[in-house]
């Protein structure tokens, strides 16, 4: 768990650059796509499930195990629900540009 200064600073560089990427990449999104984009971004932060898996794998004692289990459940809901609901929203747009009935 010891973090060296070098690791910290590297993480800081990565954080700053990722923030720029996040900002730039969505800064031109049309209004129409605000909600699907929000929903898609929501699914992406579901990657927390990986963190939940990591702490679950080393948890011991009933409290830690229950908390880790809940964390895995919540994280999975976030990921699975997030991507599926986004896909459903986007499916609605498929008829665009001349969609017939």
């Amino acid at each position: 768990m010891e973090l060296t200064a070098f690791e910290l600073l590297s993480a800081l560089f990565i954080l700053v650059l990722a923030a720029f990427v996040g900002y730039e990449v969505v800064s031109k999104v049309p209004t129409m796509l605000h909600t699907p984009l929000m929903s898609g971004a929501n699914a992406v932060h579901g990657v927390i499930v990986v963190g939940a898996m990591l702490v679950a794998s080393t948890a011991h004692g009933p409290i830690a195990i229950v908390l880790a289990l809940v964390a895995v459940i919540l994280g999975t809901i976030n990921v699975v629900g997030g991507f599926v609901v986004t896909d459903r929203m986007l499916e609605m747009f498929k008829g665009r540009g001349g969609g017939r009935g």
Partner: protein, 474 residues
């Protein structure tokens, strides 16, 4: 570093890149769906890799950890089933609530991971202070994740109607919030630099959960989409903090990406409503009921029958349909599409005027109309169509209110300055609504008493069906 560890870093990198492309693609209509699938693929990759190799990334892994596999399998199965079915079943109009719940789940997971990490570390080195950067990141993950969890639940409740959707305030509520913040800061400092006390850490988490409620209750239900977007960005930041704690670059990057893109998205949303974020969070806008009583009620409104309205449209050259929140509530998009087809077959030029904040989430109208297969090229954005109302025979307003409220052009109302659709420039305006209910801003709408305007009262769905029948006969 072992080869497995190096490979793990590379998997993180690949997953991060797919997340970047996912967001990039989601920001453009043509590629949005591919983007979402790409994100899902990256997620599958990193989850499976972690599952099969997780001892590799956690050097202090419990030797007996294979005994913990069941947590991941059972938890994953339960979560997947819940996530899948709720996402598949949810009605189109309830999607914002659904996103809120999923976001809250992510925030809760981030907070729990921080808690479990803290507990584990205290078990390994009882009473030992953690390195500062590490404990700061842990506390951040815990507080932001917790706020996101309970805040999202409140947002869901308000949108779902489980909690009063009007701004809930009690005397001294600001002071309570202030005190909460102070206590939280005090606890954080104590745990970080004085003594890593587990009970105090847990108290910190509980107070953070309360803070989430305290911050979202005073916000009106109709502002919830903005709040959800903001909480989404929060969860991203909590995930990034967790990534820092776990030295996991994939979490760090994905969390930061969402934190940054969520922040700008929240700004874009408030800008479309012509308000500032501060205003949304603290002004208690969207007072619903209260203001409504004050407003309308007395003026005479001119009514029109569905038959007459149908004739007006069928013999017009140009009809512009203005959908709003009421169309979503009534699920009237199917009949609206039928009405459009009929009118077009009679030689009428039909277009839809889409206000950027019509409905309760950005793109709400586009989504509903696309669902009903209204061709995309008939949907016009506000700026595109606003000059054309002058030579429009009939503007058909279906369950829209605030987005066509001329009070926005005057000073002193809550919506002052918001750009609106110029329906009052059309030759005739027909408004479909159930009664004298106000819109989201809870203020009266002089458009309805305008001499050009005729009201067709009733739920939008049967009303539109009556119009369809009328046009058929006309």
């Amino acid at each position: 570093m072992s080869t497995l560890e190096i490979l793990t870093f590379l998997v993180w990198l690949v997953a991060s890149v797919t997340f970047i492309f996912a967001l990039k693609f989601l920001a453009s209509p043509k590629t949005a769906r591919t983007g979402n699938l790409l994100g899902a693929a990256g997620m599958a990759l990193i989850v499976l890799w972690t599952f099969f190799t997780h001892d590799a990334t956690s050097p202090e892994a419990d030797p007996g950890m294979f005994g913990n596999w069941w947590i991941i399998i059972v938890g994953g199965a339960i979560g997947a089933v819940i996530g899948w079915f709720s996402a598949k079943r949810v009605a189109m109009t309830a999607m914002p609530q659904m996103v809120a719940i999923f976001n809250g789940a992510g925030g809760g997971a981030a907070a729990l991971v921080a808690v479990v990490e803290f507990l584990r570390d205290q078990e390994l080195h009882p009473g030992e202070l953690l390195p500062l950067a590490f404990i700061i990141a842990t506390l951040l993950g815990a507080i932001i994740g917790s706020v996101s969890l309970t805040g999202s639940i409140v947002a869901w409740g308000k949108l779902q109607g489980v909690i009063a959707s009007r701004p809930v305030r009690y005397p001294g509520s600001q002071i309570v919030t202030g005190l909460l913040f102070l206590v939280l800061i005090g606890l954080a400092v104590y745990v970080a630099v004085i003594e890593p006390s587990t009970p105090l850490f847990l108290l910190f988490v509980v107070l953070a959960l309360i803070l989430g409620v305290q911050l979202t209750m005073p916000i009106g239900g109709a502002d919830m989409p903005v709040v959800i977007s903001l909480l989404n960005a929060y969860t991203g930041i909590a995930v990034a903090a967790t990534g820092f704690v776990l030295s996991n670059y994939a979490l760090l990057i994905a969390g930061t990406l969402v934190g940054a893109s969520g922040t700008i998205l929240t700004q874009l949303m408030t800008r479309a409503m012509n308000r500032s974020l501060v205003n949304v969070l603290f002004a208690g806008f969207g007072t619903g009921g209260e203001a409504a009583a004050a407003g309308e009620g007395e003026e005479q409104l001119r009514e029109i029958s569905a038959e007459d309205a149908a004739v007006l449209m069928a013999y017009g050259k140009r009809v512009v349909i203005v959908p709003g929140y009421g169309m979503a509530v009534a699920q009237a998009q199917g009949p609206v599409r039928e009405l459009m087809d009929l009118l077009i077959s009679k030689g009428v030029d039909v277009q839809f005027a889409i206000h950027p904040v019509a409905g309760r989430m950005p793109g709400h109208m586009n989504v509903l109309l696309a669902e009903a297969n209204v061709p995309y090229d008939r949907l016009k954005e506000m700026d595109e169509i606003n000059d054309d109302f002058a030579d429009t025979d009939v503007a058909l307003v279906i369950g829209a209110n605030d987005v066509v409220n001329p009070l926005a052009r005057e000073e002193g109302s809550p919506i002052s300055g918001m750009p609106i659709l110029n329906v009052d420039q059309a030759q005739n305006v027909i408004v479909l609504k159930r009664g004298r209910g106000t819109g989201f801003a809870g203020i009266p709408n002089p458009l309805f008493s305008n001499e050009k305007t005729a009201m067709l009262f009733g739920d939008a769905k049967p009303s539109v069906e009556n119009l369809v029948a009328g046009v058929k006969q006309a």
